[in-house]
Subunit: 374 residues, 2 copies
């Protein structure tokens, strides 16, 4: 791992062979040596047809992940059965150790699993058939931010946020180096309103075996922008937002946060580092040090909007894995489906059928509320 | 309108100038002559910046509709205040007449409104700026399927479904001929679970001033398929589904219904006419006659799945307006967010952030359940 001098990384195995990695804020805790005493059936080394896999949508030109094995996954367990708590005597959980700072492990109900087996990774533009199946190679990991079941990301200390950031960087590097992995995606779903099935504060990491539609489109738009103007799309966009000011939410010396001019969601914040890097792994020390203050500020503002924790999705956009794509700007998008107290934004006919988003809240109004709410 | 010899179309105006059109199953009812006695403030002739408008998303390469005026729209009124019931003495509604068969009127809280004013319709690929605004030209209409507040589309008679189909065809033709309209979209949202704010059985029609991302992508995929194989993507896809059989749901001589191989939603059915036409307007009499039987069959199967009315979105995919695009195949996509009793499919991190759908139900399993449920 990166020698940042602040965290200690140790890997172990769970009872069914899944990898677990502790990111500790102090040395010598021996957490990875604690044995997982559960009897768990081994899970298949990979998912493939027919029970699951990637399917090609020939009308949309996209891969869809079919993951029938996930239908029975853990669903809103009572607090005393939370699988993300540390283990306690008589109550083994997914984390064998008696405590942890940040811990990452392979999801027990993954959508993507296993390394590519020599067949080429699916190419989005070379598929010629109508019904193409491909093994759902990849990896799904769970990131627990704190051992405290009742906490939330917004309540983490700045030091803990820094540890989470290091874990994201570590996983981006490690998973991006796996055979057949095209892209690593770190994200957090927060709130039952968006389908969260476990309340313990946690995020997820997906390692996809293809470049996702959203990222592919951004790369296309960035290339077209450079061809048209000679500039960099992300640099010019962030500079324009800073200059306009009307959609800015907050900033510090290392990061800026703004509501995008064409926001699709009632409350949506884009967080960019001041200096463009394509992946989290390439953030320098100053950017890493500055992240916690700005991100916690944004989350506090979002939670203050309606006087209750806001359901949100926090999505780390990164360039495809490996070197290159220096033109891409890694950024964190936080979006919320709440449009007013007790009212959610749904994806209805226009969004789900046609891909046209309708937003009832002016982006400038959303930004002003977020600036003034604290 | 098309002289189908079965319905009588009459247009009138509501108190604030909005158009209302009755599609009657018998002549001489004089419904459009009933005056709307309400005092309603006139609504602006169009929506434009700054209060609303189209905004260009430079990272996604898509238009987003900002419609701040809709935040205060009617939200789940009690049954006695339903604005889609016919008017009664002392209770004026959006429909002045004392009854109706099928009625269409301009939405009081539209996202799109007004005709293009001479400026060119926005071109998706010619926009060079980072923050482009454009008036939200277009039209949003409401389609009431029946005067019976407690009914549903699945409970309509075949004759009434035929009348609705004629109304869709009429509006596709009329709105497609409006200046600056690129595409007409007929759809129904059903169920509070997907954000429906009025329970009275109704659908909507959007006339967009641009070709939507979903349609644009389908046209691109169809062109690439023809370049690659010489065949038509839609013809070959539907023929392949009929031949495979494993995802077929039901069919008659004029229509087929199947679950797509790469279904994105737990229950998703694609309904194609046996003979490809680019728009509803081009369906022949035999296809129009055959539609009700098949569609009602599909809806009955969906409602039988969980023993309760299924929340769904029914989306009519059509070619862009005007002549041409003969290669496109109009089809009706019905998708549901329910994955199990009491459990919904949410758009979480992978879908909302990366555009990668994960479906927990095998399409073949969904099709088998739909085949066997009745």
């Amino acid at each position: 791992m990166r020698a940042v001098g602040r965290i200690w990384k140790n890997s172990g195995k769970l009872a069914d062979g899944r990898e677990i990695i502790y990111f500790d804020e102090s040395p010598g805790l021996g957490r990875a040596e604690v044995r997982d005493g559960r009897k768990l059936a081994a899970i298949p080394s990979k998912w493939g047809p027919p029970e699951s896999g990637l399917r090609w949508d020939p009308l949309a030109g996209e891969w869809v992940v079919i993951a029938a094995q996930r239908q029975d996954r853990t669903f809103l367990p009572p607090p005393e059965a939370c699988p993300l708590d540390p283990s306690a005597p008589g109550r083994p959980t997914e984390i064998p150790a008696a405590s942890y700072d940040v811990v990452v492990f392979e999801n027990r109900f993954p959508s993507l699993r296993g390394a590519a087996d020599g067949r080429p990774a699916p190419g989005l533009d070379t598929t010629s058939g109508l019904m193409v199946e491909y093994p759902a190679h990849g990896r799904c990991e769970v990131v627990c931010f704190t051992a405290d079941h009742d906490s939330s990301f917004a309540q983490l200390s700045p030091g803990r946020v820094r540890t989470v950031l290091e874990a994201w960087a570590d996983r981006t590097e490690a998973l991006g180096a796996m055979p057949g992995i095209s892209q690593v995606y770190c994200f957090e779903n927060r709130g039952e309103e968006i389908g969260v099935t476990l309340h313990h504060p946690h995020g997820q990491i997906y390692a996809y075996p293809f470049v996702t539609p959203r990222t592919r489109r951004m790369l296309e738009m960035a290339a077209a922008y450079t061809a048209r103007t000679g500039g960099n799309l992300f640099d010019d966009l962030t500079a324009a937002e800073v200059a306009a000011g009307t959609r800015m939410v907050t900033r510090n010396g290392e990061w800026i946060a703004f509501v995008p001019a064409a926001a699709k969601w009632p409350y949506e914040v884009m967080i960019f580092p001041a200096r463009r890097v394509p992946r989290i792994t390439e953030l320098d020390e100053a950017a890493r040090d500055g992240f916690a203050g700005l991100y916690l500020d944004v989350l506090h503002r979002l939670d203050a909007l309606f006087g209750a924790p806001l359901p949100y999705i926090a999505a780390w956009h990164q360039a495809p894995s490996g070197p290159g794509h220096e033109e891409f700007a890694a950024h964190l998008q936080v979006l919320s489906v709440r449009r007013a107290p007790g009212r959610l934004k749904y994806l209805a006919g226009s969004e789900s059928g046609m891909g046209v988003w309708i937003n009832d809240i002016m982006p400038e109004t959303a930004a002003q509320r977020l600036r003034e709410v604290l």
